[in-house]
């Protein structure tokens, strides 16, 4: 029976990790969304300083988040976002706002895709 209880503990641990990872991804999606909205607003206002600051905020957040996400999300998915993410600052600095918003939209979409693929629903399970 010792093994039985070990297994119950292991399953509880696994469920815990799953809940943590889902929570983390959900939070990541929301924060990327919020930061992106801030950039979109700054671009619309044509505020160069604010755009640059918002982009820096987003990329700094992503640098930290990337390290955690690659532990349980397929690296390719996270790397795609990182690739786009590190173009943002240059685009903002040189005021390439069209490209900046396009790249940002792509990032938001990819973050949502990660969240969609991690969510528990019939479609994902099947």
């Amino acid at each position: 029976m010792k093994r039985f209880y070990i297994c119950l503990a292991v399953i509880a641990g696994i469920i815990g990790v799953c809940i943590f990872s889902m929570h983390r991804v959900s939070e990541m999606k929301d924060r990327v969304d919020t930061y992106a909205q801030a950039v979109f607003t700054a671009v619309e206002e044509e505020d160069y300083e604010k755009t640059l600051a918002s982009v820096r905020e987003l990329t700094t957040y992503w640098e930290e988040e990337h390290k955690v996400l690659v532990r349980y999300i397929r690296h390719a998915q996270v790397d795609d976002i990182s690739r786009s993410m590190f173009k943002l600052e240059s685009l903002a600095r040189y005021k390439a706002y069209h490209d900046l918003t396009a790249e940002l939209s792509s990032i938001v979409w990819q973050a949502n895709q990660i969240w969609d693929s991690e969510r528990i629903n019939v479609g994902n399970v099947m």
């Binding site: 029976m1 093994r3 039985f4 070990i6 119950l8 292991v10 696994i14 690659v70 532990r71 690296h75």
Partner: protein, 230 residues
Amino acid sequence: MSVVVLRTVVLYIAIVLALRIMGKRQLGELQPAELVVTILVSNIATLSIEDTNIPLLGSILPIFMLVSCEVLVSVIILKSGYARKMISGNSRILIRDGVLDQEEMRNLRWSIDDVTEQLRMNNIFDIRDVSFAIVETSGYLSAYPKFSARPVTAQMMNIPPNGEPDAPPMTVINDGVLDRDALTFLNLREEWLYKILEEEKVTVQDVFLMTCDRRAQYSIEVKSKRRRKQ
């Protein structure tokens, strides 16, 4: 490359741990569900080793989940006869009084070669010698020979016990390491052992293998000179 090697080591440790949780029973005799788990574990581990894009947790968690499910199912099987029948199936009688049940053979999809091979593994070379043969849920054939084909035992010959203990000889010293639990099991004292070693002019470290039974009958194999130097 070094990442792949390290991931392999981590996965190896995880699989060994997982199989330890599964227990010895599963390693020795695979039931259908256990076979499935074993195959899946090896496949999941390979994925992470081959593709470094897959997070290690993506392999380790499913492996532990599979093994945990397997242990939980084995506990359920232990507690419930109905679950046992559903998951492990029933044993089937294949031979009765030297006659093969052909209908059962068809159901099991066993050929005559399969039956004779399994009988040979039971040291039976003639189907007519079988009184009763059962296909176990693990797929092994257990055969009970007819009286005429059974090996002679002391009980058949009415030979009284000669006082020999039923416990087999046990390893007391293994490669220079003393097993105190074995000594306790044999009801022997360490003082006795050291006295014997002194008589044999060896120390515990010099002994490669020492076995002993409950009547204190022992055999000692001393390490070869080259091993002793190490």
